[in-house]
Every structure is written in C-alpha cells, then in structure tokens.
C-alpha cells in the first residue's frame, strides 16, 4: 500500500474541501482536556493531546438519542403509535480518533449487528462515518493496548491511519471509504516513506500490559465464585465513570419522555454499576450488591465476551477507566487475578 504524504500546509485546505461532502468531527480542547465535537466551518481538529478524555463512542452511539416520537392527543389519527424520528446519516468524517477507539467500534459492532437483529441507529451512524485515525506516538503510562488486541498504530476499524511526521502527516488509506476521502481532500502525493519504524518506536513506549491467554479455558462459574471479588469491590463507589468513559461499554436504557401531549422514546447510556439496572419489579435484585456489579463488569469484558464471540477481550487497553477511577480500581490487576486464578477445580486430586 502506498503511503500518502500530506503537507501540513495543505491540511486546512483539504478539510475545507471535505466540508462540502462530509460533516466533520474532531478533538477540540475544552478546559483541560480534549473531546470530540462537530467542527464548525474553518475550525481545525486539535491534535495536541495524548488521548481524548472520553472516547469517540458517542459519535456513533450518542449518550441520549431519540428512537421514536408519538402523540398522546386522541384527536390525531395516529395517536399512541410510534413513528420514526428524522435522523441525519449523511456522510461524516471523524479526524483524530485513536486506534484504540476505532478498534472498540469493531468489538461493539458484534453486539449491535447480529445475525438475528440489527440496531438501525448504531449501524447507520457507524456506516455513515469515515474514521481518520491518528496514530499514537506518546502513549499514557496506563495504556496497555498492545496486549489487548490493539496498538498505537493498529489499523482495524480505521479507514485512514495518519502518522504525525513533524511538518507533514503520513497517511494510509486502509479502506475504499478512506481512499475516497483522501482523494476528495486532494491529498494524493505518494511517498516512499515508511511508517514501520514509527510504529515500532511507538509500540516500544507502551509500558504496561495484561495477560489474557488463560481466560478462555477458565470455568465461568469457578471464576464467578472466586474469592477475590469482595476485596476488589471494597472501594468501588458504583459511580459508573468506568463504564461511561469506556469505548467498549454499550449498555443502554429506554425511556419515554413526554411533554404535554407529545413525546419521544429515548435511548440513554446505562451502566451495570447502578442498582436500578437489574432491579426486578418485585424488589428482588439479581445483582444487588456492589460486588455483584463490579464482578459483572469485569466478567463481561474478560470472560463472557471472550466466550461468546471468540474475538478476545472486550477491552482495547485505552486505560481511561484506570486513569479516571476515583478509587484506583485497575482492570489490569483484575485481569491478572482472573487469568491466574486457579480454583483447584480443574486439577486432579491425585
């Protein structure tokens, strides 16, 4: 694959051209951190960050979105009938997404795009997007992507991979969507430059890791009953920060919101950390304690997902939950505990 050289002085002009065909999104500095926003005309994505505070998840899967609308006014012929809401699925280009967040979409797709059911909101937003990723050359100390099926130059889920080479970007058009975007922007100058060395250097800077090799072979119920969960959950506040900041967390709630005689059926992010998430009408709660809820989060990511899809763990190693957890619960440590756990059940008592 030919690498394209994009001179940084041609960067604003290319984006300007693209703004005719795409809605543009990119990282914008907000107080002390960067987050994804739609870019108004002339506004450039700001690439001066290690990673965005929150993942790019909400661009495809908004924290709250309308699913249907309805009227409760019985003088209307279609009262109480759910109707589709107008949505904008015109092409969008997302600049500066890190490879970890792009890989996360690949993992999450397995939940929303199944042989039996298709989630139309997630799939249409995802398919409308062209992801122009920005390779990492300055990872956080808490990043462990290289051992989580990802990496600072990982290409899965991206349409274009950009590497910052000082006064220019090196770009790889990875998909047809990505190549079309590069062409539409007028970025077509091929170069013999190679990004392999940059990739190796970046991978060398990832200083932490997890071991996942033994997770699949573990007995689910033995891991579930492991004695370490109580201690790991002791400090947990069930605040949900880990789930909201996670690029691979997808749980949601559905609520009707009425205003006078009309209303919207909404979908909102939810979290397995909250007691209401699983509370039965009878008052019984199958995950009634914070230990149950913390265990669900890690068992889902590191065992149930592994077993269900055979596509590795439901984690890309972005390290956000590690950095943002107010009580320093660390998925890397819990992954080690799970991977190394020996209940004795598998060993022969000879």
């Amino acid at each position: 694959m030919k690498v394209i050289k994009i001179d940084k002085k041609d960067w604003p002009g290319g984006l300007e051209k693209l703004s005719g065909n795409y809605r543009l999104f990119g990282p914008v500095k907000d107080k002390d951190s960067h987050d994804f926003r739609e870019l108004p005309k002339g506004k450039l994505p700001d690439f001066d960050f290690q990673n965005t505070r929150l993942p790019a998840k909400s661009l495809v899967y908004p924290q709250s979105e309308a699913m249907f609308e309805y009227t409760l006014d019985e003088s209307q012929p279609d009262h109480h009938v759910m109707k589709a809401v107008k949505k904008d699925y015109s092409p969008r280009a997302v600049f500066g997404i890190r490879p970890c967040d792009a890989k996360a979409f690949v993992l999450v797709r397995k939940n929303f795009d199944t042989p039996e059911y298709k989630d139309p909101y997630w799939i249409q937003a995802y398919e409308a997007s062209t992801f122009v990723g920005l390779a990492c050359d300055d990872p956080h100390g808490t990043c462990f992507c290289t051992s989580a099926g990802c990496g600072p130059f990982h290409e899965e889920g991206l349409d274009v991979l950009l590497a910052d080479a000082g006064d220019h970007f090196l770009a790889k058009g990875l998909t047809e969507k990505g190549q079309n975007l590069l062409k539409a922007a007028g970025w077509t100058a091929e170069t013999e430059a190679d990004i392999e060395a940059m990739k190796k250097a970046a991978e060398g800077k990832i200083s932490s890791s997890v071991s996942t090799d033994k997770l699949e072979a573990k007995e689910t119920t033995a891991l579930y009953d492991a004695p370490f969960w109580e201690e790991q959950a002791f400090a947990c506040l069930n605040c949900g920060t880990c789930t909201y900041s996670c690029p691979t967390c997808w749980c949601f709630d559905i609520q009707d919101e009425n205003h006078k005689k009309s209303g919207i059926r909404m979908r909102n992010w939810d979290s397995c950390m909250f007691p209401l998430f699983t509370l039965h009408g009878t008052g019984h709660n199958p995950r009634g304690t914070k230990m149950h809820r913390l265990r669900q989060r890690f068992m889902h990511k590191l065992k149930y997902y592994v077993d269900k899809y055979g596509a590795g763990i439901q984690c890309v190693g972005c390290g956000r939950c590690v950095r943002l957890c107010p009580v320093n619960i660390d998925i890397r440590k819990i992954c080690e505990l799970m991977n190394d756990y020996d209940s004795g059940a598998d060993t022969c008592a000879a």
């Binding site: 759910m82 249409q124 689910t220 039965h280 199958p286």
Partner: protein
Amino acid sequence: MQNPYLPYPVRIEEVITETEDKNLKTFKFVFLNPEDEEKFAYRSGQFAELSVTGKGEIPIGIASSPTEKGFVKFTVNKVGLVSSFLHSMKSGDIMGIRGPMGNWYPWETMEEGKNVVIIGGGFAFTTLRSSVIYMLDPANRPKFKDIHVIYGARTPGMLLYRDELAEWEKRDDINMHITVDAADDPDWKYNVGFVPTITEQKAPPADADTYAIICGPPIMIKFTQPVLDNLGYKHDHIIMSLENRMKCGIGMCGRCNIGKEFVCKDGPVFTLSELSATPREY
C-alpha cells in the same frame, strides 16, 4: 433495515380481571394492521415487550396460543409504572407490542410423543396456559403422550383462567392437579397443599420420555426441584423459564444476562442443566 425497536400498533379488545385481589388482568390485543399478526408468529414460551406509549415497555410472557387466531393475550401483574398504567387502560385504547422474543419450550422434542408435566404456581401460569391450549388443539394432541398439569395458587380466587381450568378438569386427555395453599370454600373439590407436595404425590415417575416444565415464584421452584430430583428427573428434562429486568428484548441493552447468555434472547427457557453452568443472577 427493519427496526427491531418499533412496536406493532395494537388495540385493546378486552380486559379481564383474573384474580380476587384484582392485581392480575388479562389483556386481549388486536393488531391494527392485520399483516402484523403474521409477522408476530410465535411459539408457546416466548414473550413480547408491551409498549405503553408515553410510559415505557414491559417484557411479558405470551398467554395466548399460536393455535388461537385473530388476537394475542397477555396476563399482567400490577407492579410498576408501566403495568400500573396498563391496568388503568380500557378496551379501545391504542398501544404497541414488540416481538415475539426469546426461545420457547422444546416443542420440537416434546412433539415426538413425549409425556409433559406442567408445574406452575401463582401468576407464572401464562406461558403454561399457552402451552396447554397448544397441546390440546386437536391437530397437536396426538403428538404428545400423557399430559399432567400441577397448578397452585394461594387461594381459589387467585388461580388464573379458572373457567378454562374447570373445562380441562372434565377432559380425559389431560390430568389436572389444581391446588391451593388454603381454601375457606367448603365446596372446594380440588387439592389443598403447596405445589411441591402435590408434585410429590401426583407427578408421574421420571423416564427418558418425560419432561417437566416449571414456572413459578422462586420459593416454589426452590422446593419443587428436590422433589423432582427424588422422582429421578434428569436435569436436562427439567425445563424452566426465567425472568429478569429487560429493556431491549433482543440481547443488546446488556442487563438481563446470566453469564454470557441473555435471558431475553438465549432464553427465557433453559434446562436446569444449562442453568447449572451459569451464574445464578436471576
């Protein structure tokens, strides 16, 4: 792309108060668009999301049988926001139904001339009613051998579908064992006693061709299971239907899982041996 969250619009055709405490009502729905009824083709044991516009959705087992045409029926306990509002609705009101969802009782196996023992308690008799109506349909009855129904409630007035129970009692192709925890009616002519006790007395012995389907409150299940064990029922011949809090009903929203299985999509019907391999989060 078909939107799995879009309910079929329905009209409430009839509301029947089932129990003396008036907390259980059966709702009979008719599809506003007749072609939706065909799309809603279901098997006994499946459930659907009842969508009360402006309030939300609740997952409820389908109480009508696939052999009953022109309507679908659900019996709903008055518990929370949506079910309480639904209880205030009347015939003619418009709402929605999304489904059918989940798997069903193992009809493919049981229809090969098996004995079926249905054990139900309280208001968990809804998909069991569907099953009985389905099996007793003249086209289906020859596919099954002996059918036993053990069904209990607290009092005679708390039994669901009392007229149908009385009709089934009269038939000779189904063995009915109705029971109540206590009866103050001197004319009560059926059993008195808890479901596990009546199961011990009336359930047929276990064999490779006999399947037990159990639905009921956790306490009933807890005490019925050892009875079935004593009778020799193998755990892959004990069929159970689970309930968990649900939203999407299609395995996406993430809350109803027991281990890697979703109660809404991989269940709600599981064998006891399947359940032994999953965390008991139900």
